[in-house]
């Protein structure tokens, strides 16, 4: 299974000099000429980026470069700030999510999000996971039980919590809480999972667990992850976008970005000369 998945990736590395993107991957998100302003501040400048199915796409860059803003634009969470304006297009499965007639709730049902700080609800573990399916109308207890188990297994935390599903999720450690949040996201079986520095508040062992989990999840989901940690991006992602001052400086397969960056600024950043 794993070998079968990796084979086409190797192929793309061999053929990376071809200008045309590898054809065996479907595009999930197509960003075309995206600009974003926070009031007067031009936060994102003419972003053009394709995100591929069943890949981990990492977004790196120094603080304030717009990487989190871009991620939050992908599920329109950025609209929670009232002064934000956007222009351009983001096509998700070929529909422009920035158009007014795209219901934001529908988009977020397809696109889950995991946040920087674990944010479980102050409810039982079970109710945390069942929250998403419930608000979308699934009431049957047996089906919910199945979803909860499947999601917790999917987030590799079932064995740790199966005996205390009725306890408050706040009794868990930070790393466990974050995996609960991932399970909560899996419960609605999203298409894409957006992760906003999901390990920055975790200890190294929990970080490792989440990273391993991300590797498993990309078999079924497309993942976009914002990270401060360049080693993390190098370890877990297929593609990496380097953001600087609201622009995409370079976007390529992760191996190329880290071993053979084409832009001097990328090279300076990944070698630790700034940021």
């Amino acid at each position: 299974m794993v070998i079968a998945k990796e084979a086409p990736v190797k192929e793309t590395i061999v053929t990376r000099d071809n200008v045309i993107a590898p054809v065996q991957k479907n595009i999930v998100y197509e960003t075309r000429g995206l600009d974003l302003w926070y009031g007067e501040h031009h936060g994102l400048k003419n972003i053009n980026l394709d995100i591929y199915e069943n890949e981990v796409t990492a977004i790196i860059g120094p603080s304030g470069c717009g990487k989190s803003t871009y991620l939050k634009t992908l599920n329109r969470m950025v609209e929670l700030v009232p002064i934000v304006r956007t222009s351009g297009e983001i096509l998700y499965r070929e529909r422009n999510i920035l158009s007014k007639d795209y219901a934001v709730e529908e988009l977020r049902t397809h696109v889950g999000m995991v946040f920087q700080k674990p944010n479980p609800f102050p409810k039982s573990i079970y109710d945390n996971i069942a929250y998403g399916p419930r608000i979308h109308g699934i009431k049957n207890k047996k089906i919910l039980d199945e979803i909860v188990e499947k999601s917790l297994r999917g987030a590799a935390i079932w064995d740790e919590v199966k005996d205390r599903l009725n306890q408050n999720a706040y009794g868990l450690s930070g790393g466990q809480q974050q995996r609960i949040c991932i399970a909560r996201c899996l419960a609605i079986e999203p298409d894409v999972i957006l992760m906003d520095e999901p390990t920055s508040a975790l200890d190294p062992i929990s970080t490792l667990k989440v990273e391993e989990l991300v590797q498993e999840l990309k078999e079924k989901y497309s993942i976009v992850i914002v990270t401060h940690n360049m080693q993390q991006a190098a370890r877990i992602s297929n593609r990496t976008a380097f953001f600087l001052n609201g622009e995409v400086i370079e976007y390529d397969e992760t191996d190329n970005i880290f071993q053979n960056p084409s832009d001097q600024r990328t090279e300076d950043y990944i070698s630790g000369r700034f940021g």
């Binding site: 709730e105 479980p120 609800f121 609605i188």
Partner: protein, 314 residues
């Protein structure tokens, strides 16, 4: 540095010279004692009040049996033939008014709190909150007039059988009185639910209403419950509105359209009347006052317990 001539004493020297001089040391010693006295005064006052209540109530129970008082269904203290001191009609009168107040204030208060915390723009909040505070600052005697001369006549249009003095009208007005308390404390509880929790719920495709009702409201439930219990405690102890608009007929039934008497209204009736010192009626107001005190004390302890025990740690 150059401002300092070598001959000047150093700052350290000057500090050392003032230490332990003049009043400073004395003030340091005296102030804690003064502060302690100030803090103790309120505690002592509380004890004095409770002690008086207990002492006079004890005197009352020398004359009236405690079972007659607690389980009697007739409150006829002024009867010349055979006075009866069964507290239940007064408790029922109090509970009627309180219950109506809760029915009015809890849904309205929580709805306003959800609006203010989750929906209102900063501008709307800037206008509504001060108005709520004005509502909280209206003297209760004014609420009493309002109940008697405005709410009762309006209700009489709707319910022709409504008496001039009744439980319904003061109940509604007491509800309006405790409304700002529920709104303001519930809003505080909901506003302190972290934004990250709302984002988590929105990220799963929740609508704004779902976030408000299924995430924020449950997360703030302990604070909201505590606010309701505190408000109930105030409603039970409310005096002026019921004295003016509820009447003075102790009744052991469940109607709300007739004149009733609450515990507080009875105390007012006796205290402003001409009951002589040392009579059973005189002592009865202490017994009723003590009963009332137990009610509000239990409510306040309950509110304290709820907000402590069920406080959500985010």
């Amino acid at each position: 540095m150059s401002l300092h001539k070598p001959s000047d004493p150093s700052v350290q020297q000057m500090i050392a010279d003032t230490q332990g001089k003049g009043m400073k040391r004395l003030i340091e010693k005296l102030m804690p004692i003064l502060l302690f006295t100030a803090a103790t005064l309120s505690v002592l006052t509380t004890f004095a009040i409770v002690f008086t209540l207990i002492f006079e109530t004890f005197e009352f129970f020398q004359r009236v049996s405690i079972t007659d008082y607690l389980f009697g269904t007739e409150w006829l203290p002024f009867s010349s033939k055979e006075p009866m001191f069964g507290i239940l009609p007064l408790i029922v009168g109090t509970l009627k008014v309180t219950f109506i107040a809760i029915i009015v204030a809890v849904p309205l208060g929580i709805a306003s709190a959800v609006y203010l915390s989750e929906y209102a723009s900063d501008n709307a909040r800037r206008v509504i909150k001060p108005i709520l505070e004005v509502l909280a600052g209206v003297p209760t005697i004014v609420y009493g007039f309002f109940a008697l001369t405005f709410v009762t006549p309006v209700l009489q249009q709707l319910i022709p059988s409504l008496k001039v003095f009744n439980a319904l009208s003061p109940g509604i007005v007491v509800g309006i009185m405790i409304l700002p308390m529920i709104t303001s404390l519930s809003e505080d509880a909901m506003s302190s639910v972290p934004q990250s929790m709302r984002e988590g719920a929105l990220g799963l495709g929740s609508t704004k209403l779902e976030v408000s009702l299924k995430v924020v409201l449950p997360a703030a439930l302990s604070g909201i419950t505590a606010s309701v219990v505190l408000a109930v405690s105030r409603a039970i102890g409310e005096t002026m509105i019921v004295s003016l608009a509820a009447g003075s007929t102790p009744k052991f039934d469940f109607g709300v359209t007739d004149s009733v008497q609450t515990m507080t209204a009875y105390i007012v009736q006796v205290a402003t009347g001409d009951a002589g010192y040392g009579t059973t009626i005189y002592y009865s107001i202490y017994a009723v006052g003590f009963t009332l005190f137990i009610f509000t004390l239990v409510m306040n302890l309950l509110a304290h317990y709820i907000s402590k025990r069920f406080r959500e740690e985010y």
